[in-house]
Symmetry: C2
Subunit: 353 residues, 2 copies
């Protein structure tokens, strides 16, 4: 385990806004991007948190991401849908605008759907689905991603892990927030096992021949195991067809990884807002979500552990960390210190207790 130091959420936020503006982003835009990073940190989705700041700034500086993107909604051909051309700008900005538009449409038409073309990595997906549930709507978000999963029956990773998130508002309880990729685990976990020279469970990775392997290095050369085999790889393909192909941005297999600086990543997303009030009395619905949560949490649990709803642990942590601060690995802080030096800004100060 790495050593951790605890940082105030607002301090981390201001730091990353500062760095992003130094790297060339406008202030308002930096605030949105940073907000998604801090959202991820407080919810302990470390892979999409502040650790990404170095690669984001590198992409901005190299012009791989367009810092001056003129994002615009294309002339809409139908009232309940929109297409946002992100002009190869930051995915977070595209995601924020796109979900705002989907929510606005849903307020009038009952459902709103925004497809985003020419975008980039948008960070933590549930940030956007929760924008909808915060407005008493059901939010669904999906994105394509760089190749990781082999289509069923093949051994070539062509499809992305293609995350899907759905957020459903409750009344007194916390929203139900599902945020999942189509692989059994993230590649990062396999990479970590490789670094630690540990075996991986048999349902994490496949070797180059498409066979299960417990050797993380073989899995890194091969592909990730999709959930439910043919089902997970099928869902991943559907998400490619609903994002990259539907927006004309990219074909399956063409999305570049965030670390690939050879050109635009050609990422696409889909944002859907469903206006609950168009179907049922909002209070009735949210009360029934509460009842559902209470029912599930009081079911007999496996091994006497507390039963947690999708997103509940993250929501609890979020509230705690906003008050008490965010633990960050010392290696990550060292990287952030280097950014601070480079841009001539103040280094982060941890909380001393």
């Amino acid at each position: 385990m790495s050593q951790l130091k605890v940082y105030d959420a607002n301090t981390l936020d201001d730091f990353s806004v500062n760095i992003l503006t130094k790297a060339g982003m406008g202030y308002e835009e930096a605030r949105i991007i940073s907000d998604t990073l801090i959202f991820a940190e407080t919810r302990n989705i470390k892979s999409h948190g502040i650790v990404r700041l170095p690669v984001y700034t590198k992409r901005i500086e190299n012009g791989i991401v367009n810092r001056n993107a003129k994002m615009k909604f294309l002339n809409s051909k139908a009232a309940a849908v929109a297409v946002l051309d992100a002009d190869n700008g930051m995915g977070q900005l595209a995601g924020y605008k796109a979900m705002q538009m989907a929510i606005s449409i849903a307020r009038v038409y009952g459902v709103g759907l925004t497809a985003v073309k020419n975008s980039n990595h948008f960070g933590v997906a549930s940030y956007y689905s929760m924008m909808a549930s915060n407005e008493d709507m059901i939010g669904l978000v999906m994105t394509n991603a760089s190749p990781a999963i082999a289509p069923f029956g093949t051994k070539t990773p062509l499809l992305g892990t293609n995350p899907l998130t759905v957020s459903v508002p409750a009344n007194e309880r916390k929203p139900v927030v599902l945020d999942m990729s189509m692989s059994t685990v993230a590649r990062g976990k396999i990479r970590l096992a490789a670094q630690q020279k540990k075996e991986i469970p048999v349902d994490w990775g496949l070797d180059v021949d498409g066979n299960p392997t417990t050797d993380p290095n073989e899995a890194l050369l091969g592909s990730l195991v999709p959930i439910g085999g043919v089902k997970g790889s099928g869902l991943s393909l559907i998400i490619d067809l609903l994002t990259g192909v539907l927006t004309g941005t990219s074909m399956p297999g063409e999305v570049k990884n965030i670390t690939d600086m050879s050109g635009p990543s050609k990422t696409s997303h889909m944002f859907i807002a469903i206006n609950i009030e168009s179907f049922i009395c909002l209070d009735e619905y949210k009360s029934k979500v509460d009842l559902t949560i209470d029912k599930i949490k009081t079911l007999p649990s496996k091994g006497e552990n507390e039963v947690f709803m999708a997103g509940e642990i993250e929501q609890n942590l979020m509230e705690k960390r906003k008050l008490e601060g965010i633990p960050v690995e010392i290696e990550v802080i060292q990287e952030l210190d280097r950014l601070a030096e480079k841009y001539g800004t103040k280094k982060l100060q941890h909380i001393t207790k």
Copy 2:
């Protein structure tokens, strides 16, 4: 293996229309219901085929399903969504009407969404998603179902297998048709293993304590394994929240199985049509789906087998069986013979070659 006899698709269709009308359904309605059964038969989705005719007629006769259902669209509160009250009628009729409405809405607004309340088992889900792809739209359909899957961390089957289907049109190629439930296998497969006194794989079923079991009888008392563990059970819950709860029909756990004659099944569905033309030139899209299919089918395959797309084997079979007939197990035919006797109609004649 059961003995099989081959029946002409039209003969089977006319037979089941006949039986359904004798049981009390109107002719036009019987045609729609029968069409879904023959669709399932030709695609070899036997569990949703003609084998269901006895239970459907029993439900109709007992008044558990309302044969005179006055299905109506409730006053719409927003233009791109609709709510259909199925009045406890046959799910197939509700599904057909609901997807037609979603398609009509999507033609104007780009996306159309119909929620169905107070419905029943609607048979094979891809019948409805393919209604959309046949009209050059992307169709998504989900339904809740009787309890089978335990919420993550619990051992009580509260959630249904809650099928999800997506159908995407291609140009020269066949549509991509994903049709999946949230369990690794259907309960029917476990029941079959129990009958045959065979062990089941460790990832099919859980015993009453929520632990994996290879004993099919223990699994039948327990619950089904969701795909990807927390992910599949999360998706199942989301589908409950988007169907039964959103329409105010039922809470998770309240949907009755098709064989339960104690009252209305309280099933709900969601139908979504996405109009491709609202996003991109239709020909461009469908050509790119073709290219995607060709790309995947020519990837190096595992074990030198042909690579099949989601729905491709079913589509091939459908074409073949429409021409050459449908093999049906002799036990199923015996049950259909009993129906014919009961209603005084002609028994089925198989094809002699």
